[in-house]
């Protein structure tokens, strides 16, 4: 092996670091560490001169490892890695010591202790850098084809954008027609455009685009592969009507079987052979075999076949499974609406004149079951007065706790529609807050008030029906005027909220996505990667991600298409070299690693007796490495040896006074950074080791720290449900529970090991945890430390 030549650069960062830490002393200390040939301190290492200095030293002193002690690696690691690369040093041979966010900024007034801490951090970085290995990032080719799941307005827009860019797109929709929710709606806010009039041209564009293959009445069954190379199985269910169909409707007229039309929410009927709505794309009819008289093998009725001049009906069609290969996937599976029959006090399904906002859309629609007349169901007459009830199933423990985003504006739009057709109808809107936050929204709200719509703050506690007239009494408290109201209306419209789609769990499983506590799919980063799913090559659009209106859905769809397009235009993607390498000699083929991998990126080849890592699917969390009991997985850049070297370096002096903390890159390490940026002060005796995920923290790391006499150990990760590696932190929790039990068994105080969930915004949570643990250390007896040293000796 070549001789190690390490260069250490201690940055003053103006006075940000040098104001607290004696940088010169730290650099002098660094020079005494093994294999360090150059150690310097300078004002701004990240400046051009600072980088030039490193580059020159790499050449002049033949450095083959570089450590920079400055700010957080989350900030400047890419900068310095690039500088190293430019000087011909592999970028994986660089390491950072965070002496700003984790040291000078959080110990502003403890100059000596902070300087000692900075030395410790540099010692750990030098220990790690000595063990780093050069790595080449793997390149994965990206197929230039995309799959869009869901044919609502978001899916259509994403498909059109990608197809126009020149990529082949498969658009999969489970319903017989694309169009989704937007096709059901009458008008759109705030411009009052006719919904289907603006959607239908897009639908037909998608239907006849040469680059789009429309797969309606189809469902995704299986997804395998990884970014750039997905293999997707799609079940295409038969329509029993061929493409020769001219959509004349003669078959439908002849069909003797009727059923409620789902598209009209059962307010109108359809036949067993039907098209859900006039503008459906494809316009080809479809036979509902659930209700058709012809069952498998028995042809009882041939009326549609006889009626069809073009002989387009074929009962012999069979379901087909298509195997598609695509490079990127856009999930635009949409949302469902809340079912208000659970809220008994509103009487939905008991009182005919209580309807939902979606039913209202069909009633007010000229193409709907009532020809655009707002008929109340009990007597089919135009009502004298209507009441809108807001937040039904939203912002309440009874339904969903989140705001459904669109219902306020939808109601305001509906109120104006009613006033436009029947100005005499009296309209009440019962609300909690009116959220008119978007462009043009407030104007619409004002117009509605000007038209005489009465807005009353306070939802009705109960809706009661007058048996004789079928009118409704709405009873509740007006919280602005502090009085009880009892208002009669001919009809009540429940403004129902938006819910995650019922198939969400299937989609989640298929694509290894994660969901928020509300049930919507989670984005990779809420601010800066809002359309990327955590799984590489998968993007989100529309209501699948969160409730949103048409404009936002379309915006997000175009964004998702652009993001997918970037990958496909590049044609390849590099994978950070932090993936595991199996060591076959050590492997016992136990399969534990495959079970904990959140991405299904590790497989066992039983015949070859080999563990294989699919690099493109692996995100590098390291949970597998922590689970492996036999050192059979070499977690690159975060190897067992490297992390143990860090632990050993940090516990070399006064270990019993120190807290060794393992923080995950995304949440808790970032949270500690945030504490630094906010100058939250906490005790100086904590030493943070960065891993990509708390799931990387193997039991033996913690045991090693105790064996070396560490006073306490902290493991910190993202909150459960927020893990950046889907659910890898569940493994953290399991391991911690195991270890607590073991500590109890061997008679070590289990309170010396803490687990903390802290998000990137929770700097104070990190700081107060350190404070709390610091008080424990004060009471720590030397006998207790000896006990743990003995108990875990050898680990």
């Amino acid at each position: 092996m070549e001789e190690l030549r390490i260069g250490v650069y201690v940055c003053h960062c103006g006075l940000n670091i040098a104001g607290t830490v004696n940088c010169e002393e730290v650099a002098k200390f660094a020079a005494t560490l093994p294999n360090v040939v150059v150690a310097k301190d300078n004002r701004y290492t990240c400046s051009d001169q600072g980088q030039e200095l490193i580059k020159n030293d790499i050449k002049e002193h033949k450095l083959n490892r570089v450590v920079v002690a400055s700010c957080s690696p989350r900030l400047h690691e890419p900068t310095f890695r690039k500088a190293c690369e430019e000087a011909g040093l592999n970028k994986y041979l660089f390491e950072m010591a965070n002496i700003r966010e984790h040291c000078s900024w959080v110990h502003l007034h403890e100059k000596e202790a902070a300087t000692e801490k900075a030395k410790d951090l540099v010692r750990a970085a030098v220990a790690k850098v000595a063990l780093l290995e050069p790595a080449v990032e793997a390149e994965v080719p990206i197929l230039r084809k995309a799959l869009v799941i869901g044919g609502g307005v978001a899916g259509i827009q994403a498909a059109l954008d990608l197809a126009d860019t020149g990529y082949k797109v498969y658009l999969v929709e489970k319903e017989p027609s694309i169009g989704g929710r937007m096709a059901q709606i009458d008008k759109t806010f705030p411009t009052m455009d006719c919904s289907i009039c603006i959607l239908a041209p897009k639908m037909s564009d998608a239907g006849r685009h040469p680059n789009i293959e429309l797969l309606t009445n189809s469902e995704v069954q299986e997804v395998k592969g990884y970014i750039g190379n997905f293999k997707v199985k799609v079940l295409k269910k038969p329509r029993y009507v061929t493409k020769d169909c001219s959509a004349c409707g003669d078959c439908s007229d002849a069909c003797p079987i009727t059923a409620p039309n789902e598209f009209d929410i059962g307010l109108a009927t359809r036949k067993a052979i039907y098209t859900p709505f006039a503008q459906a794309v494809p316009s080809t009819y479809i036979i509902d075999r659930e209700i058709c008289l012809n069952k498998e093998g028995i042809m009882a009725c041939d009326k549609c076949i006889k009626a069809c001049e073009r002989q387009a009906i074929n009962f012999d069609m069979k379901p087909k499974t298509l195997e598609l290969e695509v490079g990127t996937i856009i999930v635009a599976t949409g949302a469902d609406v809340y079912d208000p029959s659970a809220l008994l006090n509103y009487g939905y399904t008991r009182y005919p004149n209580v309807i939902t906002s979606l039913e209202f859309e069909r009633l007010i629609n000229a193409g709907g079951p009532s020809g655009g007349n707002l008929l109340r169901p009990s007597d089919m007459k135009i009502p004298d007065s209507v009441a809108f009830v807001q937040c039904v199933g939203s912002r309440s423990e009874k339904g969903n706790v989140y705001c459904s985003n669109v219902c306020c504006m939808n109601t305001i739009k509906d109120s104006l529609l009613i006033k436009e057709h029947w100005p005499h109808i009296k309209i009440y809107v019962f609300y909690v807050d009116i959220r008119a936050f978007g462009k043009g929204f407030e104007d619409l709200y004002r117009r509605s008030k000007e038209e005489g719509v009465i807005f009353i703050r306070g939802l009705p506690a109960e809706v009661v029906e007058d048996r004789k007239t079928n009118n409704l009494w709405l009873i509740g408290e007006n919280t602005l005027q502090k009085e009880i109201y009892k208002i009669s209306a001919s009809m009540a419209i429940l403004s129902v909220g938006i819910e995650p789609c019922q198939d969400s769990d299937v989609i989640q499983r298929l694509f290894t996505l994660s969901r928020t506590s509300d049930g919507f799919f989670m984005e990779a980063h809420p601010k800066l990667r809002p359309v990327d799913a955590p799984t590489g090559g998968v993007f989100l659009a529309g209501c699948a991600e969160s409730p949103k209106d048409i404009k936002d859905s379309v915006t997000q769809a175009s964004a998702a298409a652009a993001r997918a397009g970037i990958l496909m235009a590049q044609g390849k993607v590099t994978v950070e070299a932090i993936t595991p390498k199996p060591i076959p000699e050590n492997c016992k083929l136990c399969g534990l690693c495959t079970q904990v991998c959140p991405y299904n990126a590790i497989t066992i080849d039983k015949e070859q007796k080999l563990v294989e890592v699919i690099e493109a699917a692996c995100a590098g969390c390291g949970t597998c490495g922590a689970e492996c009991q036999f050192d059979a997985l070499h977690m690159r850049h975060f190897t067992n040896d490297q992390i143990i070297a860090q632990i050993d370096a940090l516990t070399e002096e006064d270990a019993d006074k120190k807290i060794i903390a393992f923080c995950c890159n995304w949440c808790s390490y970032a949270g500690a950074d945030f504490a630094g940026v906010s100058r939250m002060q906490y005790p100086t005796n904590v030493r943070i080791i960065r891993t990509m995920c708390s799931g990387r923290v193997s039991q033996k790391f913690i045991e090693r720290a105790f064996a070396r006499g560490a006073g306490a150990v902290l493991v910190a990760g993202c909150h459960i449900g927020d893990c950046h590696y889907i659910n890898a932190n569940h493994q953290t929790q399991k391991r911690m529970e195991r270890l607590w039990k073991k500590m109890e068994r061997v008679g070590v105080d289990k309170n010396r090991l803490h687990l903390l969930w802290a998000s990137a915004a929770e700097g104070e949570r990190v700081a107060s945890k350190v404070r709390e643990m610091h008080t424990l250390l004060d009471k720590l007896m030397p006998e207790e430390v000896e006990k743990s040293k003995k108990a875990f000796a050898g680990s």
Partner: protein, 100 residues
């Protein structure tokens, strides 16, 4: 399908929908009691009666004529030509295909 909420409402056009109404004719004495019509009727309109016919068989009887969809499958499969259906003629003043 598209709507998760259960479809509980009677469709507004349920009364207006024109479904042909059937008259089912059974020539009892031709029936040999094979039961095909009963077994294969997709709407399960027929059942075995308890009246013997000349052939010593139990011919079918109609349970609910209004359920018949006039598919004509019983006529097609009857080996003895003993059953047929005709669409009810709509008399004058008849509304929506239904007698007043």
């Amino acid at each position: 399908m598209i709507v998760p909420q259960k479809l509980w409402r009677k469709p507004l056009d349920a009364e207006k929908i024109k479904t042909p109404k059937a008259e089912i004719h059974i020539i009892k004495d031709l029936c040999k009691g094979c039961g095909f019509c009963i077994e294969f009727c997709p709407k399960k309109v027929l059942e075995k009666s308890d009246q013997l016919n000349k052939k010593g068989a139990y011919p079918p009887k109609v349970t609910d004529e209004s359920k018949c969809a006039l598919c004509g499958f019983c006529t097609a499969i009857c080996p003895e030509f003993a059953i047929y259906t005709v669409e009810k003629k709509c008399e004058e003043g008849c509304e929506n295909g239904r007698k007043k």
